[in-house]
């Protein structure tokens, strides 16, 4: 880690005011340090010279004033630095999260959600130290150390020389150790990440693990990752404590050298006590901020290790954004046939659906069929902009910039039900600006789910419903949206895969009724004959298309 990471400073710019305030406070604090040492040494020296309390009263009062000012400054410094750090962190957080949402589900599919959540949570928390402790101390060092050294120099140049000669050891040493710890620190961060992702993956699949008698064995894995994490953390700490030790030692010895040299020169009378005492009190202060920088350096480096992941996300987003920097056309076509020309999609360099032409007339009902894994869901994902596509998508004769144009034109129900914790009503009206109970009830009816209570509460990932119930609620959610936003196209991916024949028939009936009352174009991916039979036309995807 460099002492100053320019990328992080780029974001710290958001808190420029806080850095400037930090500098001002640092300046005032330095004045207090010098003042305190000066007045205290003066009082002691004059008292030894025989002055009484009465004569010393003004000096003591000044000392008290400095003490009060110093305390006030400490408080202000603490509050402004944490406030500034918090602001920078919140800003980074919301930037990362909105970057993730803009990168979208296609990008997310290849990543682990827990890992992304760990980056924005504990990862950015670790940057707290960087902004609230490390940077302010760095500023203070830049201000206080030269001033203090200068004051010492003016009073007694040999002492200043001693300080100046030892000071540079500290940053040099810090940089060396910084290099040495970088990889260890990265490893520690990775371990925390894998502890988190592994844990949630295991919790999510606990049912499966229990069924196969593997739950107990996972405990061993958690234990071993935690143990590795501890070992790695201790490795990091050992080095960082070592650097702390060197800093402390250098500064302690420098103070000791100053004290002894001052003492010796006092004995031969070449130096006055007032200067000697003053210099003695000031010498440690020259080292203090730098020592603090050293201590915070490693705590801050933790955050910087996590910051790499943050920048990876931000960089991915900015390159993705520049690639698709088209001006959004908000006046989307609202009706007409959906036409795909030369439409293809690929994962990386593995094409999944070869260029195909298809037309879905307005108000039509098309079933997409084909063997499992042929690319039906991929086609749908490409229509939603989750997967990149080639060729042209046109609605009502006008080309649509998938994703960039907004998604109001299309409503979608995925192959997984993807319900959220909350009530059925909240699920059905997801994304609605003004949730409407009557419309939600109608959507449930279309989806053959009218027996499900809108106020029923669902657990994590929609737990509490049977497979088929969850599927129908998820269909209702898409129907609600299509009705509320007047979408042109409603895409359902395997809507009846978890339904018995009777429910399926009711669903088909519901869809037929929906067609009669709207101009919605229905596109339904299905393996089931009953659904395919109800469609006007069938688009059968062939595995051959995969090879094309």
């Amino acid at each position: 880690m460099k002492p100053l990471d320019p990328r992080l400073l780029g974001y710290a710019r958001a808190a420029r005011a806080f850095l400037a305030a930090g500098a001002l406070i640092g300046l005032a604090q330095t004045a207090c340090i010098v003042g305190f040492a000066w007045f205290l040494s003066q009082v002691i020296v004059r008292a030894i010279d025989g002055q009484g309390l009465h004569e010393l009263a003004p000096l003591i009062a000044a000392l008290a004033g400095v003490v009060a000012a110093r305390a006030l400054l400490l408080w202000i410094a603490e509050v402004t630095s944490t406030r500034g750090a918090a602001r920078v962190k919140s800003q980074l957080r919301s930037r990362v999260l909105s970057a993730v949402t803009r990168l979208g589900p296609g990008w997310m599919a290849e990543r682990n959600a827990t890992s992304v959540a760990t980056v924005t949570g504990p990862g950015l928390d670790a940057l707290d130290t960087y902004f609230s402790r490390y940077l302010p101390q760095l500023i203070l060092t830049a201000i206080a150390t030269p001033v203090v050294v200068l004051v010492i120099f003016l009073q007694d140049w040999p002492s200043a020389l001693g300080v100046v000669l030892t000071l540079p050891i500290i940053p040099v040493f810090m940089v060396l150790i910084g290099w040495a710890t970088q990889t260890v620190q990265k490893k520690q961060w990775r371990l925390l990440n894998s502890l988190s992702t592994g844990f949630l993956d295991v919790v999510g699949g606990l049912a499966t693990l229990t069924l196969f008698g593997r739950a107990a064995r996972q405990a061993e894995r958690i234990r071993s990752v935690t143990e590795q994490y501890r070992v790695q953390t201790m490795k990091v700490l050992r080095v960082s404590f070592l650097s702390g030790f060197v800093l402390e030692l250098v500064s302690s010895l420098a103070v000791a050298v100053v004290a002894v040299s001052v003492g010796l020169r006092l004995i031969d009378g070449s130096l006055g006590l007032s200067v000697g005492l003053f210099v003695l009190l000031l010498a440690p202060e020259a080292f203090l901020p730098l020592r603090q920088v050293g201590t915070q350096f490693h705590a801050a480096a933790d955050g910087v290790a996590a910051a790499d992941d943050v920048f990876e996300i931000l960089d991915a987003e900015s390159s993705a954004a520049s690639a698709t920097a088209v001006d959004a056309t908000p006046d989307r076509p609202s009706a007409g046939a959906l036409v795909l020309t030369g439409f293809g999609a690929a994962y990386g360099d593995r094409p999944v659906i070869g260029p195909l032409d298809a037309e879905f007339p307005e108000g039509s009902f098309t079933a997409i069929t084909g063997p499992s894994g042929v690319g039906k869901s991929t086609l749908v994902a490409a229509l939603l902009g989750f997967v990149g596509h080639t060729g042209v998508v046109a609605l009502g004769g006008r080309e649509i910039e998938v994703g960039a144009t907004g998604l109001d034109w299309i409503s979608w129900c995925g192959q997984r039900s993807g319900l959220l914790a909350g009530s059925v009503f909240e699920n059905v009206t997801l994304g609605s600006r003004s949730p409407d109970r009557a419309l939600a009830a109608r959507a449930l009816a279309v989806a053959a789910a009218d027996e499900i209570d809108l106020d029923r509460m669902l657990g994590v990932a929609g737990a509490g419903l049977s497979g088929g119930q969850a599927q129908r609620v998820s269909i209702a959610r898409a129907v609600y949206r299509a009705l509320e936003r007047h979408s042109s196209v409603l895409v359902l991916d395997e809507p009846s895969s978890a339904l018995d024949e009777l429910s399926e028939a009711r669903l088909v009936e519901g869809l037929r009724a929906l067609r009669e009352s709207t101009t919605l174009t229905l596109v339904v991916v299905t393996h089931r004959e009953a659904v395919a039979r109800a469609a006007d036309s069938i688009l059968a995807l062939e595995p051959a298309a995969m090879a094309a």
């Binding site: 010393l56 003490v67 919301s94 994590v460 737990a463 088929g468 959610r477």
Partner: protein, 551 residues
Amino acid sequence: MRTTEILRLAQPGARRFAPGALLGLLSALCAVGLLATSAYLITRAAEMPPILYLNMAIVGVRAFALGRAGFRYAERLASHDAAFRTLATLRVGIYERLVPIAPDGLTGTRRGDLLTRLTADVDELQNLPLRVVQPLLVSGAVAATSVITVWILLPPAGLALLIALVLAALVGTAANGLIAARAERSIAPLRGAFADEVLDTVVNLDVLTAFDATGSRLAAVERADARLTRAVLSSAAGTGVATGILSVLAGAASIAALLVGIPALGTAGFDGPVLAIIALVPIAVFEVISSVPLALSALRQVRSSAERIGSAVPEIVPPEIPTDRAADARRTVDPANAVIELRGVSASWPHESSPAIREIDLTVSPGDRILVTGPSGSGKTTLAHVLVRFLEFEGSYRLGGVDARSLPLAEVRRTIGLSEQTPYLFDESIRQNLLFARDDASDDELIAVLERVGLSEWLDQRGGLDARVGERGSLVSGGQAQRIALARALLADFPILVLDEPTANVDPGRADALLRDLLSASADPDGRRAVVIISHLPVPAELITARLRLG
């Protein structure tokens, strides 16, 4: 787990803890000693005595300087190592308490919150020895030593230092508590809530994007972040006030020493150098005890984290979740004689008022192929959960001739396998996802079982068993995920296999072939395996031996 129990676990035992505390004390005493001796050295030197008189002080200054740094290094290593050792136990403990109630007792447990309990909250506990116990012990000892030393040099100055120290501890702690106590107790839960919001957003990104709900989700995340930030800032304000108060009192102690010391100058044994000592010692002592007001604030955060760890898992297991309590640990089921007999079995989900299945009768003997049908929501999956003992039942359920309650849960699950309706794939390679069903399976066996479910061609396309399937199978198609799960269940070779909608996401041609393979005798040469299949798709009558219709 109770909070006190967790705190006891977090505090290392005396043998581990003592070295760190002792080294910390030595280092702190050295810091005070360094300042005192250097002040003495210089003021005494100003009287220009023969250098001989100062040798002791010169040696002392150097020794204290070395000691302060050296002891501090050793102390930090010792105390951190001790603090970390117990954390592994706590983390594994959280997981182990989850296992018995999974999956049906965990539907209300928010994942992000659970994760912060495992990571951030457990990490917080290390502050108990590091920021609470040790600082209090060391500060107390250093303060006492310093007060006594100063008292010997000049009693009123000792008294002044004592008063300043007591005031600092009391006022600092009180002021800090007043400003920050509430916020500090709320930090840990707010952190959990924040993680929850973030995880919810990221996990459901596809749905949220498709429904234009990312904006409102991000707003919710930002609100959670703002609440957390407010709490953190309040805590910082408390810290700032405590630091400020301490700094004032440190100055006041020095000034008080001057006020009582200066008039006393020249009296018996009290001279300039001693005045310097009593005026400067407070500076060093206060640096050491500055951790006291913050110790209580750390304790508040540690306690709230400990409470959260304790309540990570619902304390009371709902009666609908089976436990091993009534089981006889040695009892086993003979695979050759694994017969299921249900008589009048009913079962309910936790927190539901009415049972999801009522009065079910079912017999499954070796070699049987039983088809379970019924409308959506009629209780087919519920029945499967009863069979593998995820859910408790009423009525009579005998397995291998004995009451299922008397069998250890693990034994029931060794006998009866279940391929779930919504299978879970782990964010690992295909191989790992299969291997945990039978970890001694060779690659050839894995490929063979994938061939059985029709995935061998796809496997080649993906570059073999090392291909990743993504989080919850995000990199494979719906039907492929289901078939990987099916392959897993086949691999494990259970005497009785329950298949919950095994072909729901598969095309009709493939589904038919799969059903024939699963249900025909050829799949199982000695004809001993029993299969209970839950299906909405029509199953050829010749493949099954009996049916059960629910609802």
